[in-house]
Symmetry: C3
Subunit: 514 residues, 3 copies
Amino acid sequence: MGKSVRIIGEVVQVQQTSGPTIFTVSDETGTTWAAAFDEPGVRVYPGVNTGNIVEVLGEVNLHGGKIQIESESIDRLIGQDSVDIRKLIDDAINERAEPDDTEFLIESDTLNLLRPMMHNAAKAIRRAILDGRSILVRHHADADGICAGVAIEKAVVPLLKEANNNSDAEWHYFKRAPSKAPFYEIEDVVKDLSFALEDVERHGQKLPLLVLLDNGSTEEDMLALMKVKIYDIEVVVIDHHFPGQVVDRTVAVDEYVDVHVNPYLVGGDSQITAGALAVEVANMINPEVTEKIMHLPGIAAVGDHAASDEANKYIELAADRGYTRDEQDKIASCVDFEAFYLRFMNGRGIIDTILGLGNKEKHGKLVNALYKESLKRVQTQLRAALPNLKTQKLPNGIIFNVLDVEKYAHKFTFPAPGKTCGFVHDSIVQKYGEETPIVTLAYGPDFSVIRATDAVNEMFGFNLNEIVWKLAKKIPEAGIDGGGHECAGSLKFVEGLSKKVLESFAKEVVDLGK
Amino acid sequence: MGKSVRIIGEVVQVQQTSGPTIFTVSDETGTTWAAAFDEPGVRVYPGVNTGNIVEVLGEVNLHGGKIQIESESIDRLIGQDSVDIRKLIDDAINERAEPDDTEFLIESDTLNLLRPMMHNAAKAIRRAILDGRSILVRHHADADGICAGVAIEKAVVPLLKEANNNSDAEWHYFKRAPSKAPFYEIEDVVKDLSFALEDVERHGQKLPLLVLLDNGSTEEDMLALMKVKIYDIEVVVIDHHFPGQVVDRTVAVDEYVDVHVNPYLVGGDSQITAGALAVEVANMINPEVTEKIMHLPGIAAVGDHAASDEANKYIELAADRGYTRDEQDKIASCVDFEAFYLRFMNGRGIIDTILGLGNKEKHGKLVNALYKESLKRVQTQLRAALPNLKTQKLPNGIIFNVLDVEKYAHKFTFPAPGKTCGFVHDSIVQKYGEETPIVTLAYGPDFSVIRATDAVNEMFGFNLNEIVWKLAKKIPEAGIDGGGHECAGSLKFVEGLSKKVLESFAKEVVDLGK
Amino acid sequence: MGKSVRIIGEVVQVQQTSGPTIFTVSDETGTTWAAAFDEPGVRVYPGVNTGNIVEVLGEVNLHGGKIQIESESIDRLIGQDSVDIRKLIDDAINERAEPDDTEFLIESDTLNLLRPMMHNAAKAIRRAILDGRSILVRHHADADGICAGVAIEKAVVPLLKEANNNSDAEWHYFKRAPSKAPFYEIEDVVKDLSFALEDVERHGQKLPLLVLLDNGSTEEDMLALMKVKIYDIEVVVIDHHFPGQVVDRTVAVDEYVDVHVNPYLVGGDSQITAGALAVEVANMINPEVTEKIMHLPGIAAVGDHAASDEANKYIELAADRGYTRDEQDKIASCVDFEAFYLRFMNGRGIIDTILGLGNKEKHGKLVNALYKESLKRVQTQLRAALPNLKTQKLPNGIIFNVLDVEKYAHKFTFPAPGKTCGFVHDSIVQKYGEETPIVTLAYGPDFSVIRATDAVNEMFGFNLNEIVWKLAKKIPEAGIDGGGHECAGSLKFVEGLSKKVLESFAKEVVDLGK
């Protein structure tokens, strides 16, 4: 304390307070804050900006347990000096970003194969914290996506607090936002880029690290990701949606993705959820929070109807942590219900309560209340939908159910058409059993939602994405779009060709097995 | 000034400025600010948080007429000491929160019966100001609801300025937001809770006091209120919507409401408006502003078509204040018109001008301009609607009018379907007289809006809420929802059952009196 | 430095920092900041407010190259003293606001006639910067409107930085927001007024200067402008939409507009774009940025399909700056595409990249990527629309095309119905040639969009606005509304009268030339 020091490092942010100007400087050993003061609120050293290499001379002081330098001088280094220093710092941060060796929460061959990608994901996130970038998490707005987002949030926030001189750091350097679609929409990327570029210009920040969860792997993500890459933003994707053809553990979207974690890349499938993958990555990022979020993969698995060894193990793990499978199901339902109303908000406080990360008593009360209410609303939809559901057994043995969800369900309310289709489908599955091939189609004027039992996939090789591509080719004038998982997804088309598209889809189902 | 003091009290907020940390401390005599300083922008005493009981030693200084303590030490008290002190403070604040004895602006037996509830409402609001909670006002977005919200705003803001060390206090500690529906929607509560919980975590604030105006009494409010109560947020409701069956001055929603003011609780009805009740409560909170807001109940009464002794007295009162009944009507129309475009904004500056609380010349100009324009838009709707209105006289003497409001009115513009139905209804009433039993139904694909003259209620016991419940039971597959006042409200259903629902409703009207 | 001074001037803003209170004071020579300090965060001189004339005594200090006064006293002047001073300052600011004499970028008689209005527009904007008002720019959200908005932005921001003591000034004192409609909507004015009035009350700011670009000239703008004028907000309009009948260079909207630039006022028409006019005004405001924005009028002209000598000269000018006509077209398409997703955001960073104002490499990549994607989406729409387009040659020689755009195009996606109609129209024009009279009508349930070749205007005197007025009179019950340019615009009506309105419109087209 009080002794004179000399620090050489990279400026990672310049903040003008109403008192001194604060330069955040990273060197190979860590991050320091150098305060420079001329008069209150006046930016000093206007020639020194984010990204520059500087030499700081000053006196060490302690600030709430953190070291801050009262600078006497800050000089910008240029030429070979700055190149060498930059390299030194870069190597050092890289080393500090290296995650600890941790074990997976469950045993799984697929996870073992994914370990290098997951390691890279964890490292990329740790590195962003250390080199002063903010982290922007976008995730699908369902139970799986939210579990994934919360897991990364809980791992990152304590590290941000540790790494920054600012009690508000967790709010400035970490943002989590849900995406309504199961892919990264242009509407979202436009918003994210606008804010990120303003942060650069207005607040002297670096561009963020983008982390896409339960999102980001498919062709529908490509336009948004391409835009992000034009601005040289680093992208981590942790997803379990079908990413298209895999060649050498690489898929189409990888042109724009820096680190890609997806079971399909190593021969797995969507039955390991994004929530599970994200919790495992969170465990690599910050093992101290693992204890707290260990039950999230179970909730994600139940929420996503995942059926796999891994899913079962995670559900058991959550049961060991005090959440029965039934409770996991209730929690997942509540997250979905709340997500519907949260829309573009992350609802951190409420979601923490629902997921059991906050006050336990409030957790119990809130889950009970929301579950009861969501059930009531589902039943309202089913009461209207089921009497109007047309069910037939096709010659190939498939039970095919069709619903006009625009007419026989409440609109703009929970459950939305996709979920309504799911609940209708589930009620038929309950009647005939999961091993029966069952396809349910709920349609509106210019869209339809499809659910099928895994049996349809296993018995007939049903893959919704392939049917969507086939119909898009067959009826080009319908502007067909959509897809999702093999047995769950959507189909969009222009209203005027609705009849032709739906009949063609039905024909595809009728022809399965031919 | 400059002398040493010792203060023992409760920490009600901790604010980190870019200079010192400011601890807001309440004791039995009032609120004081203790500044503690280590280095600029650094949080001192991290162990002392909102809600703790502390002992502050320091030197008194004056800050713009308010006392602030330059603290030498702040120590947290624990155990019995803190319990005793807390009790002492609590009692003292309770006493200071006690409203003055004031008289009602008019004479009314119903108001006299409601006095204890209104007193409690005023006290709860005064207490929240004193113990450092923010006040979140949610009100229906019509003339009545807005008059109610503005009345509370005008009463609370000066007290907040007085009680706080911060010129921005009125913006931080008071929020007023309109709700589109006449009940507290899940969309709204989710937003309110998200922000409130973030304020707690991020800004060290207490949870707010929630004040629902012209909203909050009915079964449709219950889910939202239940969520609020899980987080132990105090709730004051001032409403005049039909709250369901009253037993011992208690209704269903009271499970989640701390103070409930509603004329139905004491045998009154919706003809005393929420605006009037709120102005009377505002008068208890802060009698110094009463003069300014005395004309609002008249506007609320005219806006809500309230017909009662009380309504008439308030309209006269406003006339005494310089607003003729005609002007009250124009102002109410302008508020409704503006509210349509304000949507989720409270539009404080504009609304103040319209309500005559700001510049008088601008008030005159703006009201004239808006009234003319709103009239023009109403006439545009009527020009499309009236030629397509189907009117018949039923055997029971009721004039029954039906309009397809989706087809014969502009959509997504002012006036919206509900108001359009009202204007159509009014034009029929003008033709046949108010004592004629007239029912008007305007329907869209999955909703309808209903207006009836009081005569239908008086002659046939017509209560829209009861018909909604009856139809909901009779056609469960239609997912019927809705309600409102006895003679004005809405009916929602799934599109596919529209015909059945509307025919059943018509049958109910035909059968009235049988 | 360090010497004592005495300044007399007008207070234009009072900002409370967490340190001193900062009074921004303007006198006849410029703007100075006077810091007054009692204790951190406490407002001093509560009797001195925005708009007052004051005498400041203090000591001069230098703040990052700007002079700031550490005040010893600030006294408010009243009576004749303040009147005289106010006059003195006003004259001085007026003189400093006077734009330099600059030449137009191209030669044009219409521009020469418009010069006095453009000079006044530039002066009004310069004056707002100097007297401490913020500038609120609203522009149509298409390529033309955005070029206009960006031109003003680029001219104003450097002057704001120069004039203000605050590195964040450009964000506080300049706001640019797109408007979806080609007029100033009530939804927008309500938002703008709410925020402006809150800035006055909460942040001690003056009311802003409102600048409407590619917007503001028509009858549809009048209600919004009237509201703005009630609050005495100064309004500058730079537009090229048909403003109705011109008498003495004045149109209806001029009742509420302080400076109006529109080619129609001097006998010109919409073929000089708002983007071109705004760039010429930007050149008057701040000639130092002209070099940078000289290519924008070309993009605006191509984007707006402007056909005139002026348009051609601007397109050549942009070609000289390195953007071929083809590239200008691509850039315009990209701006339109991005604007669709930006909605209410200005997307400054992204738009700068697209318009070539930022990094050149990113510009190339982004334009290519967006253009390719926008083309793909247009083709998807055309693939659905063209097979369902009904085309007939009328007896008067007009090729009349009709499309149900609700059924045969994707909804809520790019391109929206208006643009879809444009692309369909363009594909027909490509087939028959631009000199053929072609009218294209794309309709939905309660609206239609119309495009016509200039030939229809030249051969038959076709003016969409006149047809809209005629139909509105003929079918009053349809609540007809709409308009736009002579050969491009929209028609809105109530759904139930759709058939009658569309048939009447068709009849008008059939009757052209009769």
